[in-house]
Amino acid sequence: MAIQEHDPLLSVEHLSLSFETTESSVVVLDDISLAIGKDEIVALVGESGCGKSVTAMSIMRLLHSPPAQYKGGNIYFQGEDLLKSSDRHLRDIRGNRISMIFQEPMTSLNPVLTIGDQVAESLTLHNKLTKEETLKAVVDLLEKVRIPGARQRLKSFPTQYSGGMRQRIMIAMAISCKPDLLIADEPTTALDVTIQAQILELLKTLKRETSMSILLITHDLGVVAEFSERIIVMYAGQIVESASTRELFKTPLHPYTQGLLNSLPKLHNLETRLKTIEGYVPSLGKLPVGCHFHPRCSHVMPICRESCPPIIEIKQGHTCRCFLQSEACV
């Protein structure tokens, strides 16, 4: 069981963020609180537009302002508040203590730089290394992510690699400075299933070897079930439920989580119809009043249409944002 006795590595507290334009202001993150312990794999799950990538980007402080406006809250990483850090200090952290893998291995590598140069970039930026040391470190990294013939490949370009290989190169770049936290934003979504299995296996092995924490952002509940220790479910800019992986799959409390789990196509199942969640994901600019999920919820009550439920801890380590649960508590 992953219970944090010591201080978490990363703790986001009541983070709110909006995108402001001259015409409108859209709340993208609404009171996000999460913590990631040392050596832990946490998954952030949700559908497109729910704010999961924005959460990752705001932890890395990669959002441009304007339009992004932090409306409140704190992001503590190893005790420092990242929201109060200077740009210079943030540059020291990025790629060094926190690093990130992006979804699209095709577009996130620079097509006109060689693989060797790109992997070396953050290494040389954060460490004082001689040419020979850098070369050796790059070859080691490429071998670590199981790229065959690493030494011969240093001078090749990203276009000469397949999607799976490019994602390996991205991972090599991300782990080059032995980060404490790796944020993986949909690392396998653009890959084929057999390649996805390889990459997840690689990430697991690397995690065992280096004891870094991983924040995995994904929409794939299958990946989550095998990979992560704890799950945070987001819907329309809010966290609606969080629990340990086993607990969440066994007793999901929020109707959205229940609906998601029920609507998953199973591989060996004789039923011919899938259970569905009615309706569509609302856009963040046009959120319904009250609970964001109420127009699609099968347990909707009058109170859900009027006010937004608070997120409360139902059991040790299991939180949920739903009036059904808060009533049960009272």
Partner: protein, 324 residues
């Protein structure tokens, strides 16, 4: 099962792309996108063509629609040779075969209202009067579960799931007999995927449609398909009724595909077969069995000869030396 005559029969279909003529290419590089595949679909059945990106499954779809011309082989639809049809006759056949595309964001014209999008196929084939068309379109819109005011609006006003419904409506409007669904749900959100799977299933039952479902996701196959063909680098390596493939996958590639699917149950994680390496380039496929470079059971023979397709049972065939 009663023997029903196949609606679509594909025999030894090949499509080789060559980039002769390009000044950058080595002369006569041949990309064997589809390299001799055969399958048939009975009327009212759903056939799933499964494989990873680059295996040639979308090329098969484009060949059947005659958007591109095959190098060799035959495609028979309703006992007529599709490849011999030309001009007006070919055009007339197009209305029996329609397609649903993967990406609902790029497959609808952003400058057209939904009404025009749905009317265009009718227009192209000269079907119905104004009033008849309106009734037809209104009916279809309801069938696919879109609100009444849909017709006056533009595609950008809809979410991904709703757009895919518009794409489905456009395919249905000509009352086709065969619909080719090319990854119809892979661009959609998880909670929307189930809705579209159910919709495709309902429509199929209601209109007795025949689907060729192209997908990489075996879970979708489980819900929709009657029979399955697994493709790897331009060839079908295994073909059977869904039941047989799911209970007893024969080809090592099919087994690996099943095992690679992440299982949404943390209590029940099975050990998986992790394939080494990447899918080889179709420009330079390995000698012998195309799969031998990644196959955990490769033998010497696999590196030298190409395995023939053998029948395991009446409806189950597999191209692998393990079974010869």
């Amino acid at each position: 099962m009663t023997p029903i005559k196949p609606l679509l029969q594909v025999d030894n279909l090949k499509k080789h792309f060559s980039d002769e003529g390009s000044i950058f290419s080595r002369s006569r590089d041949k990309l064997k996108a589809v390299d001799g595949i055969s399958f048939s679909i009975r009327e009212g059945d759903i056939y799933g063509l499964v494989g990873e990106s680059g295996c040639g499954k979308t090329t098969v779809a484009r060949l059947i629609l005659r958007l591109i011309t095959p190098t060799s082989g035959s495609i028979r639809f309703d006992d007529k040779d599709l490849l011999s049809l030309e001009g007006e006759a070919q055009r007339a056949y197009r209305k029996y075969i329609q397609m649903i595309f993967q990406d609902p964001y790029s497959s609808l014209n952003p400058r057209w209202r939904v009404h025009r999008i749905l009317e265009e196929p009718l227009d192209a084939h000269g079907i119905g009067t104004q009033i008849e068309r309106k009734a037809l379109i209104d009916g279809i819109i309801q069938k696919v579960g879109l609100p009444d005011d849909t017709l006056r609006r533009y595609p950008h006003e809809f979410s991904g799931g709703q757009r895919q419904r518009i794409g489905i409506a456009r395919a249905l409007v000509l009352n086709p007999r065969l619909i080719i669904c090319d990854e119809p749900i892979s661009a959609l959100d998880v909670s929307i995927q189930a809705q579209i799977i159910n919709l495709l299933k309902d429509l199929q039952e209601q209109y007795n449609l025949t689907y060729l479902l192209i997908t990489h996701d075996l879970r979708v196959v489980n819900y929709l398909c009657d029979s399955v063909g697994v493709m790897y680098l331009g060839k079908i390596v295994e073909q059977a009724d869904k039941k047989d493939v799911f209970t007893d996958p024969a080809h090592p590639y099919t087994q690996a595909l099943f095992s690679a699917i992440p299982f949404p149950d943390p209590e029940n994680i099975s050990p998986r077969i992790i394939l080494e390496g990447d899918v080889p380039s179709p420009l330079d496929p390995p000698k012998g069995c195309h799969f031998h470079t990644r196959c955990p059971k490769a033998m010497q023979r696999c590196r030298e000869e190409e395995p023939p397709t053998v029948k395991l049972t009446d409806s189950h065939s597999c191209a692998c030396f393990l079974y010869t």
